[in-house]
Amino acid sequence: MDESPAMLRHQFEDASQQRESAVLGMWVFLATEIMFFGGLFAAYTAYRYQYGAGFAAASHHLNMLLGAANTAVLLTSSLTMALAVHAAQVGKKPAHIAGLLVLTMLLGCAFLGIKAVEYHDKFVHHLVPGASFVWEGTLTRQAEMFYYLYFAMTGLHAIHMLAGVGVVLVVAILAARGRYTPQYHNPLEITGLYWHFVDIIWVFLFPLLYLIA
């Protein structure tokens, strides 16, 4: 085999077994993640069914343009991430791979930045659930429940983004050191899977939270 033996851990027979294990492991983890968000999705479904009117009213106070912009940012970051994996697959220079990863990371940071602007806006307008929640209009409780779910779901998503940015940073550094070759780039590949997954969660959060007609 042509892989560098240093990358093959002792419990595996060969590089393809190691790679397949890593990829499968990440997919199993992502199934776990689906269910982790799933609890919140279930809460959302139950309350949206019961509190449709309040949810719609509350949703109008979210900035749909910022939400759409964030979706675009994340989708773009997914593209750069996919291209980074592709670059490693075809054996591009370390700087090339690392560059794409840094770009991905920056887009991730941009997402979090926009999210922070939105959160700040909600703080200013007293739309954070709890004692300081102020709602001008009817259906206060329903609106508060919406904002609770909004913060819980986007907050959990943002935590995943933060973790993702951290991991991408580490992988970018390793990539810059030339660790990833067409034969071995498992960490990069599974980081990519994670990144795309976080992207998919947002693809659902955007219409569910921002686009309640």
Binding site: Y51, G52, A53, T138, L139, T140, R141, Q142
Partner: protein
């Protein structure tokens, strides 16, 4: 309690469903018993007969037999389906109060049961009811989840905060029966117990006549209605800023959102505690919330009053005793 050699084995049967629950119980015990004895018997025979002996080797049992597997999958499946349908049918009965049942209202709180009769009598941790008459309990909690459980009647149901749940029973024998809180509710959960006193109807009427200076529930509710100023908007001739409540109970209401709701106890309770969630067309959202202003008992009295504004024959659910 039925005893066997001094051990209590079996609870009293004191309601119309108790016998049916016990019949199902005996069926389940019988099926379980037959299966358990069958399995234990066969295992005992095998482990004795095929115990390891020198010079005697096992004879491999092969790779299984399809027909055998089928038999012992299908037979238990069929039996469980009998259990399912029998249990479901009984559940319908336990779940659905017969029309014309006598109302009693229950408020659970840490750690006591408060009962209120339509005639106005209130009691704590004791419930007096007449024998032979279906009783429908409309229950709500002031704090955490409780559960009203009367073993002799074989019924229980959780008592939730924020929403009415109901259960019903018809006592068949005079006597005093224990009632428990069956849903863990905090420190003195095990003290949240009491008694159901099942009386002859004349005794019950006497008992009713004994107390309640304030009058029947709907009268107390009517006074509360005036005190709270509800009548300034909800006028009986429908000229107020709010809709009239005459004929409301049991009717179908079309909300501003287009949703059609049955005006039952929960609907009225929600209208009082969160009025803006139940907006009506042609009316401004001006009603303030009375959440925290009216106790759960007060809400039940208001509901009793609003119910009394509907002629009895028009009401579909529930009924007044007078």
């Amino acid at each position: 309690m039925k005893h066997w050699m001094g051990f209590p084995m079996f609870p009293e049967q004191a309601s119309s469903v108790a016998g049916r629950v016990d019949a199902l119980y005996f069926f389940l015990v019988a099926v379980s018993g037959v299966f358990a004895i069958l399995i234990f018997g066969v295992i005992t025979v095998f482990i004795v007969k095929y115990r390891r002996r020198p010079g005697k080797m096992a004879v491999a049992s092969g790779h299984g037999h399809m027909w055998l597997e089928l038999v012992w999958s299908v037979v238990p499946l069929a039996l469980t389906m009998v259990m399912f349908f029998w249990g479901a049918k009984l559940f319908f009965t336990i779940y659905t109060a017969p029309p014309g049942a006598m109302d009693v209202f229950v408020v659970g709180k840490q750690w006591m049961w408060k009962f209120q009769h339509p005639e106005g009598q209130r009691e704590i941790n004791e419930l007096h009811i007449p024998v032979g008459r279906p009783i429908k309990l409309t229950m709500i909690s002031e704090d955490v989840i409780h559960d009203l459980f009367v073993p002799a009647f074989r019924v229980k149901n959780d008592v939730l905060p924020g929403r009415y749940t109901t259960m019903w029973f018809q006592a068949t024998r005079k006597g005093d029966y224990r009632l428990f809180c069956a849903q863990y509710c905090g420190t003195e959960h095990s003290l949240m117990t009491g008694w159901v006193h099942v009386m002859d109807p004349p005794d019950y009427q006497n008992w009713l006549g004994g107390g309640a200076e304030a009058g029947p529930m709907h009268v107390i509710g009517g006074k509360l209605f005036d005190q709270l100023g509800c009548a300034t908007c909800h006028k009986n001739d429908n000229t107020g800023r709010g809709p009239t409540l005459v004929g409301l109970f049991g009717s179908k209401v079309t909300l501003k959102s287009g949703q059609v709701m049955q005006a039952d106890e929960d609907y009225i309770r929600d209208c009082i505690t969160k009025p803006n969630a139940r907006l009506l067309p042609n009316y401004e959202p001006i009603m303030p919330t009375f959440k925290g202003i009216i106790s759960e008992e007060g809400l039940l009295q208001l509901i009793a009053y609003i119910k009394s504004l509907t002629p009895p024959q028009a009401a579909k659910t529930g009924s007044e005793t007078k």
